[in-house]
Structures are given as C-alpha cells and as structure tokens.
C-alpha cells in the first residue's frame, strides 16, 4: 500500500499529508509513493533523519539557508523523463539538454547552501561532471544552447551563415544553415553520449532532492504542530499520551475551542469501549487508525508520547457503507467486512482492527451474541482490536474502557447542543461492569427532539 492509495480512503490522513509544504514535483511524487512500512529498522532511521532535520532548523542562520533552498526547489523540474530518454539511447534536443543543465545547476546551488547539513542520507551528489559537459564556457548560467565553444568548425560555419545573409542569396543562406544544423546535431549526439554515463548520478540527485524536500517539510510541520517521534516496540502494546485528530484539532483551534486529547493504552487482549452517544468514540477509533498509518508511513504523531507496535495493516469498520453501490443492505455489508477482518486475523499476521458499534445494524439480542463471539475469536489471534458498542451484557473477558461522558449531571438541562462538547469529559476510564451508560434520551432532549417521543420513551423505561 502506498501513501497515495491510503489517503484516498482516509480523510484524516489526507489532511495531514496535505499540510506538508512540499516544494518540488519529485518531492511530491516520492512522498505519495511512500510505502506502508513494516520494517522497524527502516522506520527508525527515517525518524532519525526527521529529528536531525529539526535540529538543523533550530538555528536562524540555517533557517535562512533553507528558505533559499525552498525557492530553488519551487522552480526545479523533474527530469526523470529526460533521463529515461537518454537511457533509451535517444539523442537529446536543446530543450532536454537545457533541463538537465538547469537541474544540475539548481542541485549544485542547493548543495552549497546546505554545505553544513550533516545527515548521511541527505548528502547531495556532486553534479560538476554533468554541468561541465553542458557549460563549455564555464559561465554557470541557467541557460543553454549549442555553444560555439563546442567546435571550431561550428564557429566557422556560423560565421559563414551570418555573412551570407546580406547577399540576397536565400539558397546559400539555407544551405549554410543546414550545415550548421548538421554540425549542431553531431554535438548533440556527443553530449548525449557523455551524459549517458551520468544517469546514475542524476537519478541519485533526484532521489536525494526529493528526500531533502520531504524530510524538511516534515521536520517543520511536526515541529510547528508538536508532533512527536513514536517509539517502536516489540512488546505488543500500543499507547498514546495526549493523542489528537489534527483535522478536527485545527478546526477547533481556529474557532477558539479546546480539543481534549486522549490517553489510551492497549495490548493484544481485545478492547471494548462504551460511552454515551456524542462522546467521541468514533473519533477515538479514527485517531488511533490515523496514528498507526502515520507512524508506518514514517510520520511523527499528533500526540505527546507514543509507543507503537507495527502491524500488517489497519482494518477499519466505521459504517460508511462503502458497499452501497453493490446493493447490499447495511447489515450485509457490515457483516461481510467483519468476515474479511476475521479471516485475515485468523491467518496469524498482526493487524489493528477497529470496529465502531459492531453489529449495530441488527437486533440487540443477536447483536450482543455477535459482539461476544467476535471478541472471543479475535482474542485468540495475534491482532490488536478495539471495538465500540452500546450493548450491555458482553461477557467475553476483555479490556473494558468507558468514555467518562457528562461532567456535571445536575445541570444537564442548561446545556445546549452548541456547547455540549464543553460538558463532556472525553477521557477513558477502566470499566468493571458489563452495563453501558444510558444517555441516549438525555442527549436526544438536548438535540431538541420531539418532547412527546422522549417522554413516552422514558415512561417505557420506567416500566
């Protein structure tokens, strides 16, 4: 799975990725091609590069240099297509030669701007050998044509052509011009041959430039937004301190509202989360899935502290009815997805399975049975699982957490739907009971639902 594929499915991920200020076309391309990594060593080394970049930008002088690098990156062209042409034994035209020269000069300018950047993976190859092929006059200018300096014969021929123009003999002018072109073509062929031996170093340069672009974009964004480097462990636990969901966190901040971060820790024993409606259970699942994706795509995480365990994939069911087009009922699509998760987990690889209100699409009696059985099966596998539910009476042993919910129960009548979020404590507490909180009617009345409906329902409950 590439980052490009993942952001199509997960809006929270796409939000974070789009916040990165990538400056070059090759940087953008490389970022989207990032693979979902299951290799702890590789991820750790990538995290280390980002940290090193953050150390680099901690001085003002370096920041200034980097600003200049960014403006070069903004104008740089991706020349991988041109290099392909070269590899396929084509002779390049002036435009392609210009592009290679322009790229190489830009790269060498970046290299000198970042002369004291001491990160092994970001060392830019020296392209002087490429530039010297395309800069016979040694002017180091971002320009190119078939310079007369390439051949004495060309100098002579061009002079003859220039002189012939005054004589009103168009045939002669044309003949001399074609002879110039023939000489130029020979030079283009020579230049292409020389450049062909440089393709590896050019690819290397494109690669390094992409890495510089991506890692500094990450370093800056993670620093500004206080994302932290996750620790990868082998102990089969995942835990976050003060985890947020950036898409909403930023929106709340814009509107001067506070966003309550969440602490959570879970291991291979299935986790069951209960809590009132509107208490943020779905958002919690989204935050956990986002954090897992970010970590395995080599991003820092939107929390103060994170310990993660790498998984094969993140499997999420939050009822957005993706199978609607296939004409499946909501129950059928939910249960088929569940089946897919179970089959995957049973094969033994480690997944992170996040299910919002499992079996919500059917009757509570069978629903409870389904949740119970699922938890039983999943506890025997090697996968992490977090399941939210409104059902009481789930018997399977599991870690039970509850969103605290309303802070002040007495004043509930004074709360309006607009400020409800200020009256909910979103933190998680350990729950010993199998019973779930009954807040549905209270919340319904806050939402100004038909009074008769609420009163009738309350009467029925009392009975």
């Amino acid at each position: 799975m590439t980052l490009k594929q993942a952001i199509e499915k997960h809006s929270g991920l796409s939000y974070v990725v789009n916040q990165l200020k990538i400056h070059s076309p090759m940087g953008r391309k490389a970022l989207l091609e990032t693979k979902f990594s299951k290799d702890a060593v590789c991820l750790k080394s990538q995290f280390e590069i980002i940290s090193a970049c953050q150390r680099y930008i901690s001085t003002n002088a370096n920041k200034k240099q980097l600003g200049k690098v960014f403006s070069i990156l903004e104008c740089i062209h991706d020349i991988s297509g041109t290099i392909k042409l070269l590899e396929n034994n084509n002779t390049l035209d002036d435009i392609s030669l210009f592009e290679i020269k322009s790229f190489s000069i830009s790269v060498s300018n970046i290299k000198s701007l970042l002369f004291d950047l001491d990160i092994k993976e970001l060392i830019i190859p020296d392209l002087d050998s490429v530039i010297s092929i395309l800069d016979p006059e040694k002017l180091q200018l971002n320009q190119f044509y078939i310079y007369s300096a390439y051949s004495k014969e060309l100098v002579k021929k061009r002079k003859q052509w220039e002189e012939s123009k005054g004589n009103n003999n168009e045939d002669l002018v044309n003949k001399l011009f074609l002879e110039c072109v023939a000489l130029e073509d020979e030079i283009r062929e020579e230049l292409s041959t020389k450049l062909r031996s440089q393709t590896m170093i050019l690819y290397d340069a494109i690669n390094t430039i992409s890495k510089i672009d991506i890692n500094f974009a990450k370093a800056i964004y993670f620093f500004n937004k206080r994302f932290s480097e996750p620790t990868i462990n082998n102990s089969d636990t995942i835990s976050y301190t003060k985890l947020v969901y950036p898409l909403l966190y930023d929106k709340f901040l814009e509107n001067y509202r506070t966003f309550q971060p969440i602490d959570i820790s879970f291991s291979l024993a299935p986790t069951l989360i209960t809590g009132a409606n509107m208490a943020g259970k779905t958002l919690l699942l989204k935050s956990i899935s986002l954090a897992q994706f970010l970590a395995q795509f080599a991003f820092f995480l939107p929390c103060e502290n994170a310990e993660i365990c790498l998984v094969e994939n993140v499997l999420i069911s939050i009822g957005d009815n993706q199978n609607e087009e296939e004409g499946l009922s909501s129950y059928a699509s939910e249960i088929l997805l569940l089946n897919d998760f179970i089959q995957k987990a049973k094969q033994g690889k480690k997944y992170l399975i996040l299910i919002d209100e499992l079996a919500r699409t059917t009757n509570p009696t069978e629903g409870v049975a389904i949740v119970d059985s699922y938890l039983k099966i999943i506890s025997k596998t090697n996968s992490f699982s977090i399941t939210t539910t409104h059902y009481s009476g789930i018997k399977t042993p599991c870690k039970r957490l509850r969103v605290k919910g309303f802070i002040n129960k007495e004043n509930k009548k004074m709360i309006s739907i607009k400020d409800i979020q200020g009256h909910i404590d979103y933190s998680l507490i350990e729950e010993k009971e199998e019973k779930v909180p009954n807040e549905a009617l209270n919340i319904a009345s806050l939402l100004n639902i038909d009074k008769e409906l609420i009163e009738e329902a309350k009467k029925l409950i009392k009975k």
Binding site: P25, H77, D93, D94, I95, F98, E99, S102, N142, Q143, F144, Y145, I146, R158, W161, E162, K165, F177
Partner: protein, 319 residues
C-alpha cells in the same frame, strides 16, 4: 481581422523598426496555435517571424526545434500547450522562428510578466481577431489591427467591416469605480441597479435568455454581460418596448460577436452599449492583396478607410 491580412508582416515591420533602437529590449510571443489552424489547413503562405539578436521570445517546443536562428534557452515551462511546453529563449543571431505561445489568457499574462522579468522593455503579442480576447486590455496595453483584401475584395464591405470593429473599440467606458468591480466578474449576466449594486441574475448563459426573459430586467435596465454578445441576444433586446432605456455593458470590445446590422439597429434605437475596459487601438495596417492574388487599389482603399477611421492607417506593402 482575418487570416492573411498581413498581421505577421506588420509584426515583422514593427520588429525591424524596433531593432534599430538598439537600447530597447524586445520580448515577443504569440497566442496558442488554435488561432493559426486555418493556415495549417489552407497552407497559404505564412511567413515566419524574423527576429534580431538579443530578442527574447517564447514559443512551443515543436516550433523551437524547427527554428532557423541561434538562441540561448532561458527557461522551459511546466505546463503544456497544444504544441508542447513553452520555451523562453534569447536570440544570439538573427533568423526566423515560428511562434506559438500560451493557449489561454491567464497564461499569456504570466508569459508577458516572465518576458518583462528577463528584461524586455516592450512585449509584442502576435494575436488573431478570431481569438481577440487575447488582445483584451487586461492583458495588453495597446493593439494594432490588421485588415485587408483577405477580409473582402469589395472595398465598400472591407471598409464597413473594419470601421465597425474600430467603432466597437471606441465604445464608451463605464465610470471607473464600476469598471474596477466589473472586470473581476468571470461569468454570468448581472444587473446594475440605480445605486450601482451589482446583482447576479443567475442566468448561466445568454443562450438561456429565452427561458429567463422575466429575470433579466428585474433590477432595472442596466445589464453587464461577462461573456460575448450574440445576435440572439441583440434580437431579444431589439424586441423590447423601450430599447432606448437599455444599457448593455460588455467586458471589452472583443466580446462583440453580433452582426453589424443588429448592433447598428440597437444603437439607432438609442440603446446604450458600454465597455468595462477600453482597448487602446493605436493603428490599423492594411494588406491590399488577397491570398488568391487579387489586388485592391491601395490608395483608394486607404482613403476610404481614413474617411471612417481617425487613427493611423498603413499599407503593409509600402512600409
């Protein structure tokens, strides 16, 4: 105004004159190839542009590789035109090159800025009346119009058509505060009420005018049309009771696509036509020879045009 009216010769003439002022740095480009399709089809003689040393030009990749001039590449665009990316280059020798620039007006605006950025004191744009929006005053400062026998071999008709375009270029401009607000409107039909409020009439296109008859004058008779005005619209307006109270504002004169007759009838009935932005038409050039080889009497032609048009008129064969 038409293919083969001598647009390119005019440009070559301007270039040759400008190059005698060695201190002036010239930048030049053209609108995209769409405007030149007829030439590709009929294969009539289309001279390449002759450039002199130290001129900065912008043309598409395909034409760049066919150039008969030595030039130093300064930049290559990321965006693609119909004939590939655009190459900006500075001439080292004199010689010929075919020009094909950006395919849309906002890109053209950027290209003009780029040419100025590379040090051009003056930027010339090879346009085409069929895509006259490229000559709109928001992009270029001044315009030269080329007319000639290719438009019509009847002097009377030729003068009539040319004088009409000239008259449209002279349409009065609305007051500045209104003008500034109108030129930013990209689409739709808008009413301007007595307090100069600009109100969207929510008529997506003048093609829908028949179905929105009652809407159009809901806020008075001052209407801004951001797109083109066609015969259909003019006929609709002419059918109204008090044409003399109607004021139509168009973006600039290049948006007039209605026939001479309809526009004239509208103006004769005291209908008002304004532009949001006036075009600075500085000269007209005339080519008395038609592509089929027919020659008009050039003196007679120019005299007839001069009677109608009070700006400089030149015969390109004699300059």
């Amino acid at each position: 105004m038409e293919k083969n009216t001598g647009k390119t010769e005019t440009l070559n003439y301007v270039l040759s004159r400008l190059c005698s002022f060695s201190s002036i740095k010239i930048g030049i480009t053209s609108i995209g190839i769409d405007g030149e399709k007829t030439d590709q089809v009929t294969n009539t003689h289309k001279p390449e542009i002759t450039l002199y040393p130290n001129t900065i030009f912008v043309t598409a990749e395909q034409f760049y590789n066919q150039k008969e001039i030595i030039a130093n590449i300064l930049s290559v665009s990321n965006q693609n035109s119909a004939l590939g990316r655009l190459v900006t280059a500075k001439t080292i020798s004199s010689g010929k090159v075919k020009l094909s620039g950006p395919g849309n007006t906002s890109w053209l605006k950027n290209v003009i800025e780029e040419l100025k950025g590379f040090g051009s004191d003056i930027v010339l744009v090879d346009g085409a009346l069929s895509r006259m929006s490229f000559g709109s005053p928001s992009i270029t400062d001044a315009m030269v119009l080329s007319t000639g026998a290719a438009l019509s071999i009847d002097i009377k008709t030729l003068v009539k058509k040319t004088a009409f375009v000239y008259r449209m270029s002279q349409l009065p401009q609305v007051q500045e505060n209104l003008s500034l607000r109108l030129i930013n409107i990209e689409q739709g039909i808008w009413a301007i009420d007595n307090e100069d409020n600009i109100i969207d009439l929510k008529i997506p296109s003048i093609l829908m005018i028949e179905n929105n008859k009652e809407k159009i004058f809901a806020y008075g008779k001052r209407i801004f049309i951001s797109g083109i005005i066609t015969d259909k619209l003019m006929q609709f307006l002419l059918a109204q009771k008090d044409v003399d109270k109607i004021e139509i504002i168009i973006r600039d004169f290049t948006r007039v696509f209605a026939s001479i007759e309809n526009i004239n009838r509208f103006l004769q009935k005291q209908g008002k036509l304004y532009v949001a932005q006036r075009t600075n038409l500085i000269a007209i050039t005339v080519n008395p020879t038609s592509p089929s080889g027919y020659n008009l009497n050039s003196e007679e032609l120019i005299n007839a045009l001069k009677k109608e048009i009070p700006i400089p008129i030149y015969n390109i064969k004699e300059i």
